[in-house]
């Protein structure tokens, strides 16, 4: 007996498939950013020394990490990463800014939060100022800032003042950070791209193709098509380099999978290969380095 309603079966099948895809979308958890809390240090100060010697800095870091724990969000442990860095390269580096940068890179942190504590002494009592600053590790964009001053007391127990100041700040700081996360959720996360040339490369950014477009134009066209909402910002272009300091990419692909930066880079290299241009790449989280051969 012929099935009188083949169309209905097809429709049911389509509905079931869509429901399954939708369930998969919901089931694919988004990859969360890695966040590390570090003490503020100036160019000539060592992070390791600051952490070892400054009790108030350690306390402030611990309080901020506790705020993340309360929101069920784990953070990267600074002390463990410092130990790893010591094992790897500390004797080779004299520049403390390089060590700080290396620490952030080795940690794999996508974002870091600097905590700065300052003691204020006066005849009217002592207080503590705490400043929290959150940054994107790859683009350096500031994500959230909050400062607070504890009440004044005639006390040398600055730990309690730090505790009070941080406790009154963290909720609002976390809310601001969450607003940035909501923005990233809606408008994409940020990447940074550096495109350079190998020494023996026959190309440069001014290389002109038959259609009179330069290589920099072709790259920019690709960035425009492949950035989320066509949002990208070129810091600068020279004959030997293009620096894209901010480019937005989605958190998820159109089919609901987590967006992979490695696949994004692969797609860019394939585009270059179509123009007979070979390239190599180096990935550091959200920072991409492309070297054109």
């Amino acid at each position: 007996m012929k099935n009188k309603f083949p169309f209905l079966w097809v429709l049911l099948g389509v509905i079931l498939i869509n429901a399954n895809i939708s369930a998969q979308d919901d089931a694919t958890a988004k990859i969360q950013p890695k966040i590390m809390v570090i003490p503020y240090t100036s160019a000539d100060q060592s992070i390791a020394t600051e952490l070892d010697k400054n009790d108030l800095a350690r306390l402030a870091i611990s309080n901020v990490k506790e705020a993340f724990d309360k929101r069920n969000f784990p953070t990267v442990d600074l002390s463990a990463k410092l130990r790893q860095l010591r094992n790897d390269k500390v004797m080779e580096l004299e520049n403390q800014t390089s060590i700080k940068q290396d620490l952030i890179e080795i940690s794999g942190a996508d974002m870091y939060i600097e905590t700065e504590t300052t003691i204020n002494r006066s005849s009217g009592g002592n207080s503590v100022t705490v400043i929290l600053s959150a940054y994107d590790a790859y683009t350096g964009v500031s994500l959230a800032n909050k400062s607070g001053v504890s009440p004044r007391f005639y006390t040398e127990s600055f730990e309690k003042l730090v505790d009070k100041a941080v406790s009154e700040m963290t909720d609002d700081f976390m809310n601001t950070l969450q607003m940035r996360f909501d923005d990233i959720n809606a408008n994409g996360r940020m990447l940074a791209i550096n495109i350079t040339f190998s020494e023996d490369s026959e190309y440069d950014m001014d290389f002109e193709f038959d259609d009179m477009d330069m290589l920099s134009d072709k790259i920019e066209n690709w960035l425009e098509k492949n950035s989320y909402g066509s949002y990208y910002h070129i810091q600068g272009v020279t004959a030997t380099k293009m620096i894209v300091d901010e480019m937005r990419v989605p958190l998820k692909t159109e089919d609901g999978r987590n967006f992979r930066i490695s696949k994004f880079v692969q797609s860019f290299r394939k585009y270059l290969r179509k123009m007979d241009i070979e390239s190599s790449r180096d990935l550091q989280g959200g920072r991409i380095f492309i070297t054109i051969q």
């Binding site: 969360q32 950013p33 069920n72 969450q178 996360r189």
Partner: protein, 154 residues
Amino acid sequence: MKLNKVFFIAFSILIAMGLTNCKSSKFTGQTVLLEKSEAGQLHLKASGYGSTKGESVKNAIQNAFRNVLLHGIPGSNQSTPLLGQNSEKTYKSNKKFLDNLLENNVESFVLEQKNSSYKFFAINDPSSEVELTINLASLRAHLEQNKIIRGFGF
């Protein structure tokens, strides 16, 4: 015929009772920070409207929560809307849940409450002031568990 008359009169009485008992809740932004508090709490002062003490106190508490959800309380631990940047849209999308929360469940998130004296001046003036401490951490967790807002992160 007599029965119809009885039903008609009873029906009219019921309608009249319903109309006279209609309460229109007034929601305003009259919620301010009372004093800074530690993380996870809010110390607020809210004004309430109503022709009876019970009604105006309930309105004050509802006002406080509504302002926390939709507008945030400047200077407090929740200076931005708890429902996020698109708080109005989120409220509309979850109206049934949030209306029920405001009407029936908010008091479970009140840690402390102190009612000022009640004085009814006019229908457009607040008649009560309530100082309350809200368990912000618990309220946030409740909204996250019911998928009204997202958890911390992406």
